[in-house]
Amino acid sequence: MSAADTPAAPILTAQGLVKRFGRVVALSGADLELYPGEVLAVIGDNGAGKSSLIKCLSGAMMPDEGVIELDGQAVHFRRPQDARAAGIETVYQTLAVAPALDIAANMFLGREKRRPGPLGSILRMIDKPGMRRSAQEAVQKLGIATIQNMNQAVETLSGGQRQAVAVARAAAFGSKVVILDEPTAALGVKESGLVLQMIRDLRENGLPVILISHNMPHVFEVADRIHVQRLGRRVAVIKPDEYSMSDAVAIMTGAATVAGGA
């Protein structure tokens, strides 16, 4: 699947995003388009503004300038909750899990389910068994066999398992877009393979994915299109079957340019 044979309307767009931190310019007019059902990879050097870009899309950061549209409607996310409510789920580079809480608690952190009836409405009791079951299902759906017990504190998990929990959380709740910031960074070969498979599964289920990664083989393996970020803006969008990995790296570092890229 590619941009050419998807319906013309992108599901998520960003235009001219600017984000400054004092004198540091993290984003200097960044654009992005994400089409339905595609995996869009975002690559770029350290500090190119990849994380900043997706944080603007996920509500973790507010751009100083620029427009973000979801399904053609302008959106102004002030907090991560806003983006989540709109159906955008994000796995951050830092994972954003609470180590002392268990897997089920982390999965539902910030959107705990309540018990039905007066227990929930009056006593505000959260539905622990229900959340445990849902967490179990989400983890199983992604085929992570090594995580069994949803009552396990996240700090007792390996780096890869934690990443898997974060990805499972995003996959379970994402209804429009799933964003993954370096989801394979801490992973071994096998676990990386699992995450890449999850990404394909998400696409199969019709969910578009934004994947940030420094790992070119991973990017070329799953991406439909590759957004190249450099010095705070998009410098090119390429297709993995038209360019080589070394071309991509050259564009990323400024050694090469693409005509009409951005």
């Binding site: 991560p80 909750q81 830092t94 954003a96 002392a100 809480l101 622990k128 504190a153 007792t156």
Partner: protein
């Protein structure tokens, strides 16, 4: 009530087995103990309390084991016990509150004076005391969460401010329990009313403390707010990215703690049977002691409210036991100091089981 806690307790058997397996060569037993203590954070203070009780029972001349002694110890623990609930909530958010005692003092002065000097009906005076304490707590919370000052500094500052306000307001005059009862304001010292079960004599204040522990144990482990308290203390950045409004959680934690100190002021008024700026002087550090001995981490995110109750009881039991054994006050203080350090050391050791 069932204590099903969010943080760090729910590790599984598999894992304990795995842990034990790791160190097969030396001390399977030691590491299993470590794991079990980690799994049940209130277990070590419970064991310490039990051990202290047994030791003092068999060591002394029999006075310690008597029910009236137990009743007296429960009454002595009530004020620190209730205030320590607020401290626990704040410590769980990775904060600290040094203004606890003075908020309770101010609120009990406020209640008594509104009723006695301003002629407020006692129920309104009582509620006004709660409101004042909640506002003080909210002020702490606003300075911590909105102005982003460190909790230690904030509450050190407000400690002095609230002390001064209390002194200025009360003009250092006391109001006795008899005055209150004589003027039809018995409600304000109702928390000091004795209830007897044979020779076990406790007060309504003691019962209130137990109820409050049960309520907050439920709130912390069975509501979203409770979970968010743990998550914010555990890793505030992660909590924010997960969609929790960290500032609001912190603000509400300090406000709720303030309300608890207000109720603490009521219990203090009944216990001391007088409203005076001299009451509850050492409460700040005593609550921190109870929290620490009870196994709550000062770094936030880990701990159990019941542990704090046990911690508060442990301090009283040590004090009473040593006192009945003829140990003088200076040595008792020394013993409590050592106890705190041992508690923290054991806590670190248990945590190592996970690292």
């Amino acid at each position: 009530m069932a204590v099903d806690v969010v943080a760090a307790d729910d590790t599984d058997d598999q894992e304990i087995a795995a842990d034990a397996g790791q160190e097969q060569g030396r001390g399977n037993l030691v590491s299993s103990i470590q794991s079990v203590l980690h799994r049940y954070p209130a277990l070590s203070p419970a064991l310490v309390l039990l051990a202290a009780y047994v030791v003092f029972t068999f060591l002394g001349d029999g006075r310690f084991a008597r029910l009236d002694t137990t009743g007296r110890m429960l009454q002595q623990t009530a004020v620190v016990g209730v205030l320590a609930i607020g401290q626990t909530i704040i410590v769980l958010t990775a904060g600290i509150d040094l203004s606890i005692g003075v908020i309770a003092i101010f609120s009990h002065l406020f209640m008594a004076r509104l009723a006695m000097n301003n002629g407020w009906p006692s129920i309104l005076a009582l509620l006004a005391g709660f409101v004042a304490a909640t506002l003080f707590g909210t002020l702490n919370g606003a300075l911590v969460s909105k102005v982003k000052l460190p909790p230690f500094i904030v509450t050190l500052g407000t400690l002095n401010i609230f002390v001064a306000l209390g002194l200025i307001y009360s003009q250092a005059r006391e109001i006795s329990g008899d005055d209150l009862r004589g003027s039809g304001n018995g409600l304000l010292v109702w928390t000091g009313k004795t209830i007897s079960f044979g020779s076990l004599r406790i007060t309504t204040g003691v019962l209130m403390v137990v109820v409050l522990y049960a309520v907050f144990a439920y709130v912390l482990s069975n509501t979203a707010w409770g979970r968010h308290i743990y998550a914010v203390g555990d890793d505030a950045d992660a909590a924010a990215l997960a969609g929790i409004d960290v500032n609001r959680v912190k603000l509400s934690a300090y406000a709720v703690a303030g309300l608890i100190y207000g109720i603490g002021g009521w219990i203090l008024l009944g216990r001391a049977d007088t409203a005076s700026t001299n009451n509850a002087g050492g409460a700040n550090l005593d609550t921190i002691t109870a929290v620490v001995i009870g196994g709550t981490s000062l770094f936030g995110g880990r701990g159990l409210i019941w542990g704090t109750l046990l911690g508060a009881l442990i301090v009283t039991v040590y004090n009473t036991g040593l006192s009945l054994a003829g140990v003088n006050q200076d040595y008792r203080t020394l013993a409590i100091g050592i106890l705190v350090i041992v508690a923290v050391a054991i806590d670190q050791w248990i945590r190592k089981a996970r690292k």
